[in-house]
């Protein structure tokens, strides 16, 4: 086998430019493949989360940035009424970091956050603040204590771990809680924790999401924010938005899939044609090897190794990039092995079939020959 490995590398070295060309082409094709897969994954995720929340008829807001500096007064009372008392709205603060765990994502949930996303069961009897860790967080464990706040500080014990795949909607986009620490806080007390409460107030207003509001409630909320805080919020229905996003993702994925399909077919056909040409140009050489004692499987192994060396690095490179981009564990590369083997067998199959069907000794005969 080592002998065939050496001969395969020799084959590569004979035409390194063509080998490199196909390897690069494969990287490009596979990249589009993974992008389209990613698009499909995002689309499915978004649609699943949005469908699960369809009955809640959530309305989120898009702020008019130009109005932000015109603030007149802080409508704390509106915030408390909407989030704490009505329990028909939630908001989040995501810009916070804990001093003890600066690398940990922190999501501060206000109002009906846990209820809307059906997290951690019934929490109505438990006084806030309450902390939960996402499924993939390992720097903080259940029972561990985190110090929360800057001006008023509080030590909060982590109550439990959220199930894998827990998520919430942030400005219309499903966002995972798997790698975050979730702290549920009363709107009434939230601003007291911080020195720079203005900034967090803006974030709370912009991230506000109303649950199944009537038209009158919506109009009242928007006009009060505009009058009191000077911020113009454009309400957006999550269900309609999700349909729009789903359609966009669907057509995006379809485009990438078609592009991937065409590029992949083009590349694979190119590789097979190149392999067949390689076989054609080496027929005499293969016959010499057979005369010298090689068996057909030696020649098949040589072709297989060539294809393996051509295909494996691009597939592994693109898969590695994909895992890296999605912060997924590297053992995910193991999952790539079965399709990789299928691809190698498919590509090596054609030239091996050609070898099998060719009378190699015919390429060494003199004029005294039978065909």
């Amino acid at each position: 086998m080592i002998t065939q490995l050496v001969f395969s590398f020799r084959d590569i070295w004979r035409k390194p430019v063509i080998f490199g060309f196909f390897a690069i082409q494969l990287v490009v094709a596979l990249f589009f493949g993974f992008v389209s897969l990613d698009q499909v994954r995002t689309s499915v995720q978004h649609t699943t989360v949005a469908r699960g929340l369809a009955d809640s008829r959530l309305v989120f807001f898009s702020p008019n940035i130009a109005t932000l500096p015109q603030r007149r007064l802080t409508p704390t009372e509106l915030m408390v009424t909407t989030l704490d008392e009505s329990q028909r709205a939630y908001s989040v603060v995501t810009s916070l970091k804990l001093q003890d765990y600066p690398g940990l994502n922190v999501v501060v949930g206000l109002g009906a956050f846990a209820e809307t996303f059906r997290l951690a069961g019934d929490l109505s009897a438990i006084p806030k603040p309450i902390a939960f860790v996402g499924h993939d967080v390992d720097v903080v464990q259940v029972g561990g204590v985190v110090e929360f706040g800057e001006r008023n500080t509080e030590n909060i014990a982590v109550r439990s771990r959220l199930p894998r795949g827990s998520s919430y909607i942030l400005r219309g986009t499903p966002t995972s809680l798997d790698d975050s620490l979730l702290i549920l806080v009363d709107a009434k007390s939230v601003l007291g924790y911080f020195f720079n409460s203005w900034q967090h107030f803006d974030e709370i207003m912009v991230n506000m999401c109303l649950v199944d509001p009537t038209g009158a409630e919506l109009a009242q909320f928007v006009s009060r924010i505009l009058n009191d805080a000077g911020v113009a919020l454009n309400p957006i229905d999550l269900n309609a938005h999700s349909r729009q996003v789903h359609d966009g993702n669907f057509y995006g994925a379809l485009f990438f899939l078609v592009f991937f399909g065409i590029t992949m077919v083009y590349t694979l056909v190119g590789i097979v044609v190149n392999m067949l040409q390689l076989i054609d140009s080496h027929l005499s050489e293969y016959a010499i090897h057979l005369l010298s004692g090689a068996r057909m499987w030696h020649l098949y192994a040589r072709v297989f190794i060539y294809v393996f060396v051509l295909v494996s690095p691009p597939v592994m490179l693109v898969s590695w990039l994909f895992l890296l981009m999605h912060q997924m564990p590297m053992y995910g590369l193991v999952g790539v092995v079965p399709p990789l083997i299928c691809l190698i067998l498919l590509l090596a199959g054609f030239p091996i079939l050609k070898l099998y069907k060719t009378d190699l000794f015919a390429h060494l005969r003199s004029d005294d020959q039978w065909h």
């Binding site: 002998t3 010499i288 090897h289 000794f361």
Partner: protein
């Protein structure tokens, strides 16, 4: 016991409805140390016969025995071992790999032989074989840079490197000028004198007459 025995060997090639009878029942015995020339017009089946003897083609019917053993019963690894170390094959067009050096070309049978030789020992044997045929100074030259005579000598070195018992030569001087052809043929006769068995396929009757026995073929039969 004959070194090689052929009993009613036949070889047919089928292409669609058409069947070509390349060899139509050849029986022949070849003794150890013998030199035998197979002559005949083009297309009479000489090369096909040589390929069957060299285990490169499977007879359609009949029996081939090597040292008394029927080749039909040989496994593919046994056939491979015989091709690499029992037979040495020389063809008209040298059959060298053009971008390999003389050393790399001659080394090939040792890579597939039953002995698992180390690189150093392989190279020693290759250099000895090249020295035996007088091209020891061309060890690292690529085949494409060698003259016709040098190429055929390298091809002979490749046939000799595994120290085979039988040399199968298919028109070994066909692509050489007469002077170089005679030099190459003298080399083959020297090998016979050293105890090798030579089966030579040729159109050249002068060469055939210098062999110990001559077999004439016509239309797939010995006549």
């Amino acid at each position: 016991m004959a070194l090689i025995s052929m009993m009613s060997l036949r070889k047919e090639y089928r292409r669609g409805q058409h069947t070509t009878h390349a060899v139509r029942g050849v029986s022949l015995e070849i003794e150890r140390g013998e030199s035998i020339a197979v002559t005949g017009p083009s297309g009479c089946g000489k090369t096909t016969l040589l390929n069957m003897v060299g285990l490169n083609a499977v007879p359609t019917s009949g029996e081939l025995q090597i040292q008394g053993f029927k080749t039909k019963s040989f496994s593919s690894s046994k056939l491979s071992a015989l091709r690499s170390s029992f037979f040495g094959y020389i063809v008209q067009d040298f059959a060298l790999i053009e971008d390999y050096t003389a050393l790399e070309n001659v080394e090939i049978p040792l890579l597939y032989g039953p002995e698992r030789l180390g690189r150093r020992e392989r190279h020693q044997r290759v250099k000895a074989a090249l020295a035996r045929v007088g091209v020891e100074n061309k060890v690292h030259q690529e085949a494409r840079n060698l003259s016709g005579g040098q190429r055929q000598r390298v091809a002979i070195a490749r046939a000799l490197v595994s120290d085979p018992q039988v040399i199968l030569a298919d028109e070994p001087t066909g692509s050489l000028d007469s002077e170089t052809g005679h030099e190459v043929f003298s080399l083959l006769i020297e090998l016979v004198q050293e105890g090798k068995t030579l089966i030579l396929v040729t159109h050249n009757l002068d060469l055939a007459h210098q062999c110990g026995r001559r077999v004439q073929m016509k239309d797939g039969l010995i006549v």
